[in-house]
Assembly symmetry: C2
Homo-oligomer: 609 residues x 2
């Protein structure tokens, strides 16, 4: 036994106890003939006092930063107490010590405000993990997992493991594949998700399944993606969408309570995909603040049910708006006094290539009810007032307007909304606001192949009211330029995303459970019967033996943890993450393999220059 | 909402309630104008009564086995109650029903005593999983996992995920590898265990880690191996062997209590590896029964400290024993009246190629104190008595003796012991007996390469008393035939196995945590400095920055579940297992991949004929 206590637990009630501790040397301070050492372990920090009698031993065995130390001694009341730490009222009067292991000087300081850069900290991740900030992230991750398991257990979900060595059925993302030695010439794939297996479990009658499980996607990594990531994966039988929404908003509320001690008692807001796109310009709106978009002008086919208010901006010979496909305004609350410098900065911001606008029109809504705009030349005070009314702007607000092609402009308006909210302090990471986004389109149009692709995945059911449309129409798109007029373009999915603070944290759907409908879906995605059988024959087969109605959801565990932890980066919440090239720079993987391995697997390299 | 209740919960207290259920049609029985249906779901079976009024609808919508059915109705008290099922006192008087999905006739019956063969059940695993017997196994598995997590949580262990895409460092078993598209020509490996990562977590100060985690080994599959399997993987810092043994025998006791309601209050027995080999002929003895081996003759180098009692069998000119390297006896209690047919059968059994003995000598210990043996020609009554005393045989026992080369004979004696115990009903799967096996040799001799290999793995620490022997001796074996005389042959490991009913369910060790000793270990295993750096540079590096003393253990989760479930086969406890060729016959994996995948991965096949 190396210790009687940990470095986080001794306090004033333990005074005079004989104890032993083990941990890492955080700091060493000498005061004349006595030495103070802060000893650190996972649980906290305890101050050690080496009195003069140990000086000889200390000289023979000098301590250093990050040395592993075992001490025995007596708990003492401190003369100068530190009320900020649980052990701050005591110190250990050391009677003896052993250096269990030494340390060379770490390449960066083991502190919250470390001097180590990203790359260095990744290479020495085992040291970075010692930092309190990173430890707190992993503790939060563990707490989220534990809370999830407890809730789902109480709801009679069963954790059932699905296989990792499965079949490659690339559809959307690329699979990682694994050559099979015993079946030469053949490959396993690592699962992108346990989707088909959890559906089979429903066919098997396991009615409430979950797993916290690693998934794999071989995609080019954007800033915050990982080739391996973790999902909270769930599926239920004999449920409709409403059952799923209720169950899983309660899961997230439980996590809020257990992990953040937040009572999220209000019901979770719901919005359709169309309303999200209309009001916020994207399908995962941050609704911690309002600032809805005002669609001054839009192509009629994109939102066929919405009223056209473009007369508000037309008829004044302002060519920029007249020639634009889309004009979107939003009111920034309390920003009417923005300086020229500030509006110039915003203009530059929207002109960056990532946003891609040509400029930014503004309208000041002065507190006295007057208006001042960058387009005064074209718009009368009255016209400006009408626009302001349409945007819902109040005196004291500033209206910003972007224009251009539909998709890009909508995206820009959405980004601008977030950017302004950030500036205005409306994106407090300690405020949490959930949102269900519903009624997604079932299909997206793939221009390159002139065909439909599944927006969620090929197992998602259409809305019951759209099933006939799907079955009774030919999926072939005869007129590519008018694909939006194809009946399939309007089919809505029984799919739902959960959004937290502007991030999609989970998504799922009610599944197709009828063989014929599933075949129709595969066909709509351009899979012929042979391909259907080759890739998903087992699922179509299973649907012949009494498949129950079912649906599910998967949460991005890494993302959920990072948002709960108030961070933008999932990497901070993964013990051993990979970099943007998919490399683990600590262990230096991937790496070359031996000739013997190639030989046994019966594969060889085929490198392009 | 498809149901108000499940098929396992309604009982006499619910009579007259209006309810709805959903599930699968288990059986249909017609009695005149009424129809009884047993409706099954995950939770149980409820009897449905379709009265005459529904006959018209039933005729238009005929039911079949495994149809998915939704019914609404009223809970009725049954006239003929079934006390063997929780819902046996009631039935549902059906008012309306909906066929949610149909089923074609399953290829085998969904019953405990199914008529389906192994292969058929694997192909239709989603139907096999419907069987009560399989469901109970998965429920037990979930319960074991849950119990494990709860215990480890209470003991302040943290579940921390380690990566699946790591580096290939084949050492012992073969790695599965994953070609990297983004790093062409390089490969990830799937982890055989999270060993080095959990050690790094100890270096990082996370002092109590666990994971229930998939691991991968590309080995030729013996009957009961799987290419992917699950471990309960644990590691602790600032512990010695005693701490680990205490912690994890308490884990297993907790699992016994939670899952089987068994109070395993006695302390877990401990035995050294040497004593296990001596007394039981193998390192995972089943100690639910005694029947120790009696080593009548053995090569002096194998058990140097044991007394030679070969004079008991020598000096009578019985050439078979005189010329044998090893002679081992064991007494089968109460078997003295075995018939000639029975002993003949046993003789044939030991002569099978898997056992490989040339024959079986027996000595009957008659109840009257006399002896009768198959070697009466050579051994006097007095001699037989002395042998019987050495074996500890009692009147009424039968002594069996095998002889031959050391290793094979010891293995045969061990197998014979288990075989006899099985015949004698001493291997009751509902009796559980734990055992720690300690003090394994650190090294094994690899004849082919004339070098040492790590018996456990290269990170296992020698016993503290053996560290000097390891450091101060050259690992090179100058004289292969006398390798047992090399100082390394006697170095003991700080390693331990947990054995349950003759199965190794867990194993672990105290780890090396000093860089120099780890380097010495790698060198002893034939790794030069370059290879050490290439494969394990990150670990050697980490040991420079204050690595704490640490150790851990990993339990074979599949195996543990199968033994607790009273089964010999782990496959029965895995939702989607693979067959002996590593194939998933249900989804037909592994399989070929597309040219595009080869192209992107920059690899090609290199098939031998």
């Amino acid at each position: 036994m190396f210790r009687t206590h940990t470095c986080g637990e001794l306090n004033i009630n333990d005074v005079n106890k004989n104890i032993s501790l083990a941990g890492w040397v955080q700091t060493i301070r000498k005061f004349g003939s006595i030495t103070f050492v802060d000893l650190r372990d996972r649980y906290g920090i305890t101050q050690l006092l080496f009195s003069e009698s140990l000086n000889e031993k200390l000289e023979a065995n000098p301590l250093g930063r990050e040395f592993v130390l075992q001490v025995s001694g007596v708990v003492n009341e401190r003369s100068s107490k530190n009320p900020n730490m649980p052990t701050g009222e005591i110190e250990i009067l050391v009677s003896d010590f052993t250096i269990l292991n030494k340390s060379i000087t770490p390449p960066f300081t083991i502190q919250d405000d470390t001097d180590g850069g990203d790359e260095l900290r990744m290479k020495y991740r085992f040291l970075d993990l010692r930092r309190q900030a990173v430890k707190k992230n992993l503790e939060l991750r563990y707490a989220v997992g534990r809370s999830t398991r407890n809730f789902l257990h109480e709801q009679q979900f069963m954790d059932i493991e699905t296989p990792f060595l499965i079949k490659s059925t690339p559809e959307g993302a690329r699979d990682f594949v694994v050559p099979s030695r015993m079946n030469a010439g053949q490959f396993y794939a690592l699962p992108q998700s346990p989707q088909t297996f959890k559906q089979l479990l429903m066919v098997s009658g396991y009615d409430r399944y979950y797993q916290i499980v690693k998934c794999f996607r071989d995609e080019d990594l954007r800033a915050d993606r990982q080739p391996e990531f973790t999902q909270i994966d769930c599926e239920m039988s004999f449920v409709d969408q409403e059952d799923i929404l209720n169950m899983f908003e309660n899961l997230v509320k439980r996590i809020f309570k257990d992990v953040k001690n937040i009572d999220y008692i209000e019901s979770v807001e719901r919005i359709t995909w169309e309303e999200a796109m209309w009001n916020f310009g994207n399908d995962k709106p941050d609704i911690r603040f309002d600032m809805k978009l005002c669609n001054l002008k839009f192509p009629s086919h994109t939102f066929p049910t919405k009223a056209d208010i473009s007369s508000l901006i037309s008829g004044v010979d302002f060519k920029v708006f007249d020639e634009s496909e889309t004009v979107i305004a939003l009111a920034a609350p309390g920003c009417s006094e923005y300086t020229r410098k500030q509006t110039d900065e915003l203009t530059e911001w929207v002109k960056r290539p990532q946003i891609g606008m040509k400029g930014l029109v503004y309208i000041k809504c002065n507190l006295d009810g007057t208006f001042k705009s960058s387009v005064d030349k074209f718009y009368s005070e009255e016209k400006l007032k009408a626009i302001a009314e349409a945007t819902g702007a109040q005196p004291g607000d500033m209206i910003f307007i972007v224009e251009g092609a539909e998709e890009r402009t909508r995206k820009a308006a959405s980004e601008l909304r977030l950017h302004l909210a950030q500036q205005l302090g409306k994106r407090n990471p300690e405020v949490f606001k959930l949102l269900w986004v519903l009624d997604f389109p079932l299909f997206e149009y793939a221009e390159d192949d002139n065909r439909w692709v599944a927006r969620h995945h090929p197992f998602t059911s259409p809305k019951p009211s759209d099933i006939d449309t799907m079955i009774n129409n030919n999926p072939v798109i005869d007129n590519p330029s008018a694909y939006l007029k194809h009946p399939y373009a309007n089919i809505k999915a029984n799919a739902y995303d959960m959004v937290l603070n502007g991030n999609e944290i989970g998504g799922g759907s009610i599944r197709i459970f009828q063989k014929e409908l599933q075949q129709k879906m595969f066909a709509a995605l351009g899979m012929d019967e042979h391909e259907q059988q080759h890739k998903f024959g087992f699922l179509l087969g299973a649907f012949e033996y009494g498949a129950p109605p079912h649906g599910g959801i998967a949460f991005g565990f890494d993302r959920l943890c990072s948002i709960l932890g108030g961070s933008e980066s999932i990497r901070d919440f993964i013990a051993f993450p990979k970099n943007n090239s998919g490399r683990d720079v600590m262990i230096d993987a991937p790496s070359t393999i031996d000739d013997k391995q190639f030989d046994e697997l019966q594969i060889k390299l085929d490198l392009k220059d």
